[in-house]
Symmetry: C2
């Protein structure tokens, strides 16, 4: 395709995207397709002939869009806000259009240095000290695998350079809570620790935050058993209920024993842009690594996951390679981000952050986050005040965990399996209708509905409409 | 940013990209900046106020472009062709614009099912049997880490679910050659094997391909020592010289011992689109996993790394999580790509492949690959026939490793340190000039220059011009 063909098609595509975003509120929130339906609409074999751009654009509408769950829809309250602000989309388009290659500083100095500067801007914007140095990963899951490998290598004294984890005599152990994101257990397994060496520490029964005394005890027990405590993963805003592990108390325990402390603030990191929320990760300066995703609530399009460490030389010792075919005269004077993570090649991700911060401006981003906090507070108040409705966890940020508990004919509140059936019933009716979307989770063995507020276009009006829908749907049983 | 603001800025950006690509041949190939120069041109602190799009566009030209090494430039012969075809760029723009979220089938059925279909189209286009099932990773490095974890878990009987790698009594060993990409050794280390357990098998001194007899011997020795051979990484087109390990002979050894065989065809996979090249990976059907990057020579913009396995249930057993907050009614009927790799969230990467294949058409892609093979053959012939020039390795594809070996005053060919100085001298002069770019590598302890042919815009004329430049620069010493 020539640049002139691209110009023509590109203009058509920009219009298509602008129209799409303009009419997004008219689309059903959840994709309306059955398993296999999109696949069945596509040819089983690759086309022999080249096609017109107009045909492809028509297929986007015909085949792809019906199979998209509209997470940019103002009535999307599922999983987490996965905002893809149009300002950041422009940065992503610039990245795609330039077609740069990030495998070393030399392959694209701008890519490396803009990433350094953007990570530093974000550090400043979240009130972190300049002891932290950052990079952009694809996701917090990958950041967590990296953190677990760093922890393993610190505890095993760089066993990777010798006989490996197998040669370490005593088992290495990791500590978290059952509320921690599923990627934590996955990372522990992928890094080779083994699931038996992952300890889920007791939580506070209401806040679901890690109990530091229980952590201290578990570590003491492991030490007494001859184990080597290697890592603690502290969740700042755990996935289910936005539970906030007490970072400071945990960090004190971690540093007492020289244990690697990873702070997972994937969703809640966005809140740290607001000075009034930073008490929620008080103590973070004592952690060893920290990850959070601007591609969630803040709205820099996926994949933008920040990963910060304090000990860069150690990070590089664990992750570096220095192959001959990538050596250049600049070695030693520059950052080589290939030595900060798993993949060698990287996209020009920093452009997304640069465009987002410059075009939307930080004040507008902060105002939007505050709006969402207000909306969540309002919504939680409505639910708490309504008969038969419950708010099941604290609401430190923008996620509200709720349940409708109607009474049966004898005036007894629904419970057990019957309650689960009721919960999934009304949730399913709303999700299937396409009018709004929420995702459930399990608390204390029972389904609850998570209402995650914070899509860029979600105003108070949409939250009010959701509350009406909820009451209507729950009353239909 | 509203959709209308986006529309306006988007049109300006499309024009900027089209202009940029049109004038790319006029830009210096290698970035002309010094370490720190891009960073110094950016404010140290984030801006307080929102900015105009025009200001950002001007800064792209002023700050970013001078710091880009132009890998889309027709005179780029460095590292590998990192083609970002404009057809695939359009697919990437569609992905960015829609702002979808890939964390489960339900979060975007189209994303999952188009990825399934595109991996299957690519499977057919490279002549693989339908025993293979694919996914798109960011890079072949990540695919290799995944493969090493799969190998570890097969050899250790899913130790991740129990006491971990540490509880496996005998050391697990991995086999490759010193020619293998640096990501192989990195993956072995990250997966916890330890570098001592990575065996570099003897290579053929000229083709630099793994010697199967040496592999068989090394495995026998490890078995005799009580070790557990866990993985073999077979390079189809190793980075330095495009060395081709003999897949079939290696696969026979692997299957005899039940060792996981990973085929790394990151660069050379593109050649498998050409039926006449497929003999180069004869035996691949017996491998366990396979990775190659359409984002290299084929030209589907980064990040598009295909990862195929044959045993999907095993892959899912190793990589899966099933957290409550991601469960849905479709579970069990659909593919959950989060269980096929490390990250939970993914971009809508399949659109890049779909747009590329449909808009450029496979015939045009094949013709371009054949053009590059012809150009490499022609170039190697010129070099081999010229006095004082050497081609240092076979040229199975599009990479030619060369050296200029002038004679000193006594008629003795330059050697040792003096030869290295000469090689890096003329290479540096060309790279610094911006007229062309190549990257060096080390063979038998001495620097050689890799000429990697295959940028989309590189015609015979550009290769001829390069050959003139080379002779001129090498003669200046």
């Amino acid at each position: 395709m020539t640049p002139e063909d691209f110009r023509k098609a590109g203009h058509a595509l920009i219009d298509w995207i602008a129209d799409y975003r303009q009419r997004i509120a008219e689309l059903p929130v959840r994709a309306q397709v059955e398993p296999g339906e999109v696949r069945a609409a596509l040819p089983a074999a690759p086309p022999a002939e080249a096609d017109q751009f107009s045909a492809l654009l028509a297929d986007l509408d015909r085949v792809i869009v019906p199979g998209v769950t509209q997470v940019q829809h103002p009535m999307h309250f599922g999983w987490f806000p996965a905002n893809a602000s149009l300002a950041s989309v422009l940065g992503d388009i610039a990245s795609s259009g330039m077609g740069t290659l990030g495998i070393s500083w030399e392959s694209c100095p701008s890519l490396t240095e803009l990433e350094e500067v953007m990570c530093d801007w974000m550090r400043q914007l979240t009130g972190l000290s300049d002891a932290w140095h950052g990079t952009i990963h694809d996701t917090a899951s990958t950041a967590c695998v990296t953190a677990m490998i760093l922890a393993r290598e610190r505890a095993s004294r760089l066993s990777k350079n010798g006989a490996g984890l197998q040669a370490v005599a005593a088992p290495l152990t990791v500590y978290s809570t059952a509320q921690a994101h599923s990627s934590i257990a996955k990372a522990v397994q992928l890094a080779g620790f083994g699931n038996d060496n992952l300890r889920f520490i007791e939580e506070d029964p209401y806040t679901r935050a890690m109990q530091p005394q229980a952590l201290a005890l578990a570590i003491e027990q492991d030490l007494a058993a001859g184990h080597i405590p290697a890592a603690i993963v502290c969740s700042v805003g755990a996935t289910g209920t936005t539970a906030m592990d007490p970072v400071e108390a945990i960090a004190t325990i971690a540093s007492r024993h020289g244990i690697w402390l990873h702070v997972d603030a994937a969703m809640a990191g966005s809140a740290m842009l607001l000075p009034e929320c930073r008490h929620l990760w008080q103590g973070v300066e004592q952690a060893d690594s920290l990850a959070w995703n601007p591609h969630k609530w803040m709205g820099t399009i996926l994949d933008t996951a920040l990963f910060y460490v304090r000990d860069v030389p150690f990070l590089e010792r664990v992750m570096s390679t220095n192959p001959a075919y990538l050596r250049s005269a600049a070695d030693g004077q520059v950052t080589q981000y290939r030595d900060w993570g798993i993949p060698l090649g990287r996209r020009f991700r920093a452009l997304k952050l640069w465009f987002h911060l410059r075009l939307d401006g930080i004040e507008a981003i902060l105002a939007r986050l505050r709006r969402d906090l207000e909306n969540a507070r309002w919504f939680a108040e409505q639910v708490a005040a309504a008969p038969d409705w419950e708010v099941l966890a604290p609401v430190p940020l923008q996620t509200v965990c709720i349940r409708h508990v109607p009474k049966d004919a004898l005036g007894k509140p629904l419970a057990g399996e019957a309650l689960d059936k009721h919960t999934l019933g009304w949730l399913g009716r709303i999700n299937t209708s396409g009018a709004a979307f929420m995702s459930p989770t399990v608390l204390d063995g029972r389904w609850v509905v998570r209402v995650s507020i914070g899509v860029e276009d979600t105003t108070r009006e949409h939250v009010e409409r959701l509350w009406e829908l909820l009451q209507l749907a729950a009353g239909q049983d």
